[in-house]
Each structure stands twice: as C-alpha cells, then as structure tokens.
Subunit: 357 residues, 2 copies
C-alpha cells in the first residue's frame, strides 16, 4: 500500500507543527502545503522546517490551493487557517469537492451544530455527496473540556451536573495568541474590546457544551458565557508576551449550559501568561456529580499547542476510515497516539487509491 | 419507534444492577431475564428487585435461555455470567445466532484477541454471519486501565512509555468477590492457590495491554503478570469480608507489556478491603511519558461495581448502531451517560424492528 498522503493548508504554528509531527511517523507523507507567506512560497517544507527529509518526496509550499489539493492529490487535507466555521467553510467546501477528507483546527468546527447549524448541514451534504468525511478537532474544544468529559460520564448510571475547568498557561504561545487573549493590554482597552465584541478569548464553549449535551441526551435551553480580564499585580514576561503590573495577563472565560432551567454544564477556563509566578497551579479538572461521582485532574494541564497538533494528526486514520459526512469527536472511535505505521490503521479501500487507478 | 428491548442473562450483582439502572431510563425496557437461582425463577424482575414497574411490561425470570432470547425477542442481550471468553463463548454464540446483539461483562471479552485469538475470530465470524455485533466491556478492563489510557495518548505527538495504576477498595463487593480475591485467607493458603493457579485476582491485564498496544500500533513481544497477597497488620472488616491481622486483605496485581524488549506498558492494581483503615488513598492514576506528558488522577477511584453496570448499559445504543462483527472499546465511539431517550440514539433501522415486520 502506498503511504497515506496528506496536504496541509495553513503553515502557522499549528500547520507547521503537524508537518513536523508527520515527519516523525511511518507510512505517511506530506504531499504539499498551501500557505501565503512570501518567505516560504516555492520552498520545500523540509528546508523551511530544517528537518530531515529522510527519503520522503519534496513537499513544496504553494500559494494557490489548486496547485496543492485537487482530485487524487492526497487522502486528507489538514486545514489550519481559521477559528470560525463561517471563515473556514469555503476552504472546507473546496477540499471536500475534490473528494478529499478534511480535518479542521477551527474551534467552532469541533461542533458546528452548536452555532452554525445551517452550515453544518451544508458541510455534511457536501461531504456525503463526495463520499468523504470531515472532522473538526483540537485539544480544546476536541478533548479536554468535552470528549474527555463525555467519556468519563460513560461509567456513571446517572449524571446530575458537571464542571470542566482548564487552568492553563499562555506562555508557550506566540504573538497571535498574545494579541487574541489581550496579554499586555491596559484593562480599559480590554474592557472596551469586550464590549465591542472584538476580543477573541477562548473560542469553543458553545461547541463543548453542545457536544456534551447532545452526547448525553440533555436539551440545553440556555447557554451563556462571560469574559473577564486577569489583571496582574506584578510584571509578567513570557517569550512572546509581557504584562506590566496593573495590565492584563490573560482572560478568564466562564460558560454555563442550562438544562431544565438549571446550570448542568459549568465551564471555567482562565488562561494567562506565567501563572506560576503568582502561585496559580495549572491543570485540567473534571468534576461530575451523580452516581458514581468522578473527580479527575490532569496536572499540569495538557499543553495546548502540542495537544492540538497531536489530536489532528492522530485522528487522520479514523477520519479516512469513517463513513462519509460531517463527523464530530463523539461519532468516531477515541483518539490514540499513532506509534506504528499509518497504513496499518486504514480499513477497506482508500478513496485516494481508487482514484489513482 | 418501539422502546429499545433488552434481555439480561445472569442476575447476580451485575445483571440485577443493570436491570435497576435500565428501570430509571427512558425509551428502553427489559423484556426478559435468564437466571438459574430457584428463588427467582418464574418471578417478575420488578418484584424481585422491589422497584417501580411504572407501566413497563413484566420481565419474567426464566431458567431456560430459549424462553427468553430467540429471534425477534429483543435488540440486545446483556450477558453477565462469566469472566473468561471460553466459558462465555457458548452463550455469546447462542445469542448471536438468534440475530441479537450482545454486550458481555466477561473481562477477557474486553479484548478477546489478547488471549483467545481463535475464539475471537470465531465470534467475529458468527456475528458477521448473523448481521449483529458483540462487545465486551466494564469498568476495568473496558475503561480505566485501557480505553482512558488510549484516549489520553491521543493528545500526544510521541509516547515513550505509560503506567496505569488503579488502587481500589473491595469493600462494596459481595461474598463472590471476597472469595475470588482471597479476602480473609491465611497467607500460606493464598500462596498455595496462586501456585496452583486457582486464585482469580484481577482478570484483564492481558486484555488491557493488548488493547492499548494495538490502538497505538505497538507490538507486544512479552507480557508478564504477578499476583501478591496484601497482608493486613490490623483486623479489617467490610460488609461482606473480614481479614484478621496477619491474613490476606486483598491482592496486588502487577503486569508489564514489553515492546522492543522494554517495559512500555506498566500495570499496577492493588485491591483490598478497607484501604482507608491503613492510610491507603484509593484512586485511578495514568502517567504517560512522552510529548507532552500526561499525568491524570481520579480520586477516589471510580467505583467498580456501578462503573461496570453503567458502562454496559451506556454502550447499548453504540453496539446496536455498530457494523456487524466483534467490536472492542477502541472500535466504537466513546461511552457516554445516557440521560435522554434510548430511542433517540438509534441510527438507521433496528434489526429487532426489521424482524418484527
């Protein structure tokens, strides 16, 4: 069997991280990359990343997707360009119409049914029509505050309510995340942008709440979320961020899913640079009230950047194997670190191979 | 759509617990029970359990399986009678041949490929031939020391080795478990039985190790396990067990899966009555070395009896929806607490309904 063939659309921290990870794996290769950055276009991905090519074919970075992704070009395209379904939609549509499977890093695509039900239906229709499948995933949404919660409820005879809390450090992240999360902003500017609706904060609570509720058969009758600045009282400095005392070091997001008028799903997600400096212990915490109760913690928290890269790459075979259509993490078998040959995971015939013949 | 219809084979702690749980759920009903206990045969399950029947049809306990499970009698049969695949096999075969899906509590059935590869193939063949599916599950094997481990590796770019540790209390369990785990035995009797191979201890390490390794694409070249008595230095008393000072209060099982000559999968599972009395904190712990590292704990441990009952019942719709054949937890979507109507989870046509027509 030929190697599993992957295209990458978007070569920022996520896309290039997936390329790096794929270069360490067996039975899989990157066949092409689409990215607009003029410094990279026309170059071989392995040279740009300064990693061993190890006999793999060149993966040239192109600025036109038509030169990278077309019918028969690959098995699956990783799209790492957007956070919102609406913005990712034209890209997803293009790839699906080439009869190529998609994994998207867009946070809203982890459960597009939550905020974009019409687009979700349209994506499902296009995928079905072209006989391929599409999944949105990442560390969060995608695992920590949703799939893992769902999985842990599986050992319970009854669930009364649950809380998912992710206390993480923004220090490993680059300038784009610093900007999105308001790191270093004066408080009044942060608050003005929250009012204007131009602060991103964490994208994904609506998706995580929707995924959990639908998995368990709860009907959410109200969803709310709040965004508050984490103001630091000492100077904090991370590789790409700086918050002076009195300014914003991160964002505390909270969200609630109401079922039958009560908060049944409670989400708490403070993100900041250098939390250790002020005695904040990072971690992922899931507390589920019911029978039997489950109190889980992961300390420190699972690192977000690497976690998202790993989730997307590790789900590749499961998406190739899936029935056609829009899939979410609760429709597919559990993610798993792929330490063997990617080809050994592929069941039945690959669309790529049927088109090659 | 008619209620999802379930038969139960074996009405001990697990089978009767599942009946109790099902009686609290919507869109599902027990249509019959097979059990040999003369006190129960001929009686209505709801009377035996002393719970509300709430308009559901009678579920009479019969001692002949042919009177309970036959083609068209139900959607799925829960088999809660055995620990070993070889002993469960004739029962599983009978049910599958009635074109009825199966969930088995037999520990070895969680991954029969590990120790009974020939029987696993035969079970798969029979299920395929009859167009139905079969799953073995429970809290452990089934979730804590295998599926949950696999799921957490999903956010890792590389895994070097892992340890799964379950430190639990045997106090909630009944006389059968006390006997199996040697609670109250003098140490020399325990050791004699270990030598003779007649101590049960925990059944499932080979299955958990096989499931994790296959999910990740590791080839296990050696598997070993050890069983040691936990001797108490104080008297310990639980509802169904008693261990005098100097006698056995439980079993410490350890196991190792070797990959390329190194221990990559390490299993540690001490079980005893009244661990709190001697300062032992119970919990489930998963430590995965690699990138990024994952250190998970659930404290106290997920209660084993309720956990197994919940896993079996919550997997019902996923098994009914599955393609035909032998399935394991790594083939199916994640378990989830079913708090809504069971019928809302069923996709496509039920075999039960197609036979009824």
């Amino acid at each position: 069997m030929e190697n599993v063939k992957i295209a990458i659309w978007g070569f920022g921290a996520m896309g290039s991280g997936m390329a790096r990870m794929l270069a360490t794996k067996k039975g899989v290769e990157v066949v092409g990359v689409c990215d607009m950055h003029p410094d990279r276009v026309g170059k071989n991905m392995y040279d740009v990343l300064e990693i061993e090519q190890a006999g793999r074919p060149d993966a040239i970075i192109r600025d036109k997707i038509e030169d990278v992704v077309y019918e028969g070009s690959c098995d699956l395209c990783l799209i790492a360009t957007d956070s919102f379904t609406k913005k990712a939609f034209p890209k997803i549509k293009y790839v699906l119409e080439q009869k190529i499977n998609v994994i998207s890093t867009a946070e809203e695509m982890a459960y597009p049914q939550a905020q974009e039900p019409e687009l979700a239906k349209e994506i499902d229709r296009i995928a079905l029509e072209n006989g391929v499948s599409v999944l949105g995933t990442g560390i969060n949404p995608g695992l920590i505050m949703d799939l893992l919660v769902v999985c842990l409820t599986g050992c319970m005879t009854n669930v009364e309510s649950l809380e998912a809390k992710r206390v993480n450090s923004l220090s490993p992240f680059g300038p784009a995340v610093m900007e999105e999360q308001g790191v270093g902003m004066p408080l009044d500017e942060f608050n003005k942008r929250v009012e204007e609706g131009t602060m991103a904060g964490h994208v994904g609570f609506a998706e995580s709440v929707g995924m959990i509720a639908d998995a368990m058969g709860w009907k959410v009758d109200k969803f709310e979320q709040q965004m508050k600045a984490i103001v630091t009282d000492v100077d904090r400095k991370s590789p790409y961020g700086f918050a002076a005392a009195g300014d914003v070091a991160g964002v505390n997001m909270t969200g609630q899913g109401y079922v039958d008028g009560e908060v049944k799903i409670d989400m708490i997600h403070p993100q900041q640079i250098e939390p250790e400096q002020v005695g904040v212990n990072t971690g992922d915490y899931i507390t589920i009230k019911g029978t039997p109760e489950v109190n889980m913690s992961i300390t420190p928290e699972v690192e977000g950047g690497l976690g998202t890269i790993a989730m997307c790459v590790n789900m590749i075979p499961l998406v190739i194997n899936a029935d056609a259509g829009l899939k979410t993490m609760i429709d597919l078998p559990v993610p798993r670190a792929i330490m063997g040959d990617f080809r050994d995971y592929i069941k039945g015939e690959r669309k790529y191979e049927s088109i090659q013949r």
